[in-house]
Amino acid sequence: MTMRVATDAMESRIGRAAAHRRRGAAARRAETWASNAFFYGMVGLVLAFLYIPIAVLIAFSFNSSRSLSWPMTGVSLEWYERLIANEDLLEALWNSLYVAAFATALTLVIGIPAALALDRFEFPGKSLFRKLVLLPIALPGIITGISMLIMFRMIGFNLSLETVILGHATALVSVVVTQVFARLQRLPRSYEEASADLGASGLQTFFLVTLPNIRTAIIGAALLSFTLSFDEIPVTFFLTGRDNTLPMYIWSTLRRGLTPEINAVGALIVVFSIVMITLAVVLTRDKSGRRG
């Protein structure tokens, strides 16, 4: 009974809808046109918003004059030449690469076991552990920076690039954990069980079964971690000693005013980023389709 009423109601609704559709064909076309105009406008706006500043940054790195007004006076490579001759900047660049390399290595060494533990094991304090490890994702870097600064000062540690590495690793472990954890969750547990059943030890199973299956997630996380560390300011700001990383060097230059040299650095960083992203996309593509 109720069933029939419901079906009747549905049929009459569908009938009305059909009538509505016939009557309102013109109105509907107008509606579609308006909605398309709205969406294309919004997409154009967002893309312009995102890319005009980057285009401006790159364009001015080739400007022949010091002023940053539009239109540019001419094209030159002067700022790139100055860049190569700037020893402070090159040292900062080298420091940044050093910090990012070691910080990334640390995030992997800590983050992969952490993700494994969160996915596979039960242990007391697990939920607190998870919260603490993941906290730096949403927590402003400044808090990680100052809390570690106070600790290092209390135990009499001198600030250096090494303290920066410890800070970056702490802040960025969360990146590796989230990426690797997400992949582990999709990995069927049966692979590892099969490996154990066939007599492999825990370590063998990890290196021969688990690791190859989460490889692309690890590479992606490592590249992201490296880029973020290379670019990091809030933690570095509090934990660095006399040595500057590249972002800190740029930051201190900006204090003294604008310089087109920074645009040249920026343009190079954009190119470097594109290389990293391409690498990330190529390396993290899952080639083996047979795994399903």
Binding site: M10, R13, R16, H20, S35, N36, F39, M42, V43, L45, V46, F49, L50, Y51, P53, I54, V56, L57, L68, S69, W70, P71, I110, P113, L116, A117, F123, F129, L132, V133, A138, L139, P140, I142, I143, T144, I146, S147, L149, I150, M151, M154, A169, T170, V173, G202, D231, I233, P234, P247, I250, W251, L258, I262, N263, V265, G266, I269, S273, I277
Partner: protein, 289 residues
């Protein structure tokens, strides 16, 4: 028995390094930060104490409350502006773009800027909005302005625009993920039952995408809330945010205990927002999925 022991041993081995690290570099520093916030500044150093003077100063001196409210306002505006730009973009990608290749390119177009130096992305707005900048040159050359104006840079609007620019990917990503998860037959059913596109959006798609909106709002809010670089670059005299004040306490003002107390206030606010956001997303899931 042997198996159990072995698995316990291996789990202990796997766990030890992350546990030690988390304890040493997250738990202990946060604990020290908490303790430090009760210390006292006795020139030229800081002495251990247990007193609420730092917290009292944060309440009594109106400048701190003012900066806190301003930070909340700016972070809120950034999240709102990001949402208004990001939602239609994500919706377009999921519902209007039919070719997967185009969808991927447009999605990557938003994520890509995240890989470009954050500092430089903020800095470039300084070159755009400045008196000698691109925007002014453009407006003067087209005759809209007769002379360059200084109103664009060094104010709160410039900060909101810059922070939105920097953090908008964090809004697009979760909304896109949420929209993509909605089964297509729900919206189709709504259309078949005679709802207009707008009605379908308001009554089906929007409520179902709320977890993504909340996640995006939380990320953009927390990230802008703790930022001290955009205020430094494009914020004016009325543009100091709470993180700038904290940084000053650890630099020129040299009052670490007070800075720790402020940082703790910030920590509590951020944690509250994250917890609330988790609850809201949980409620959303229970109700709709």
């Amino acid at each position: 028995m042997r198996l159990a022991t072995r698995s316990r041993l291996s789990s202990g081995g796997v766990l030890s390094l992350p546990l030690v690290w988390t304890f040493l570099f997250l738990f202990v520093p946060y604990g020290i930060l908490f303790i430090y916030s009760f210390w006292e500044k006795k020139f030229p150093t800081f002495v251990p104490a247990f007193q609420f003077g730092n917290y009292l100063e944060l309440i009594v001196d109106p400048q701190y409350v003012r900066v806190l409210l301003r930070t909340i306002k700016i972070a809120g505006l950034v999240s709102l502006l990001s949402l208004l730009l990001a939602y239609p973009y994500a919706y377009f990608l999921v519902h209007k773009v039919t070719r997967p290749g185009v969808r991927l390119v447009l999605y990557m177009a938003v994520v890509l800027p995240l890989w470009v130096s954050y500092l430089l992305r903020a800095y470039t707005w300084k070159t755009i909005l400045g008196t000698q900048g691109v925007l002014n040159s453009f407006l003067v050359s087209t005759g809209i302005l007769s002379e360059p104006s200084s109103v664009f840079l060094y104010n709160q609007t410039a900060m909101v625009v810059t922070l939105t620019y920097v953090f908008i990917p964090f809004m697009v990503m979760p909304i896109y993920a949420a929209l993509e998860k909605i089964p297509r037959n729900l919206t189709e059913a709504s259309r078949d039952l005679g709802m207009s596109a707008l009605q379908t959006f308001v009554r089906v798609t929007l409520p179902l995408s709320m977890p993504g909106v909340i996640a995006g709002f939380t990320m953009t809010f927390c990230l802008s809330f703790g930022d001290f670089i955009a205020p430094f670059l494009v914020g004016g005299p009325d543009g100091m945010m709470i993180a700038n004040v904290i940084a000053t306490q650890f630099g020129a003002a040299l009052n670490w205990p007070l800075g720790s107390a402020l940082a703790l206030v910030m920590l509590v606010i951020v944690l509250t927002i994250i917890t609330l956001s988790d609850r809201l997303q949980g409620v959303g899931k229970g109700k709709y999925a």
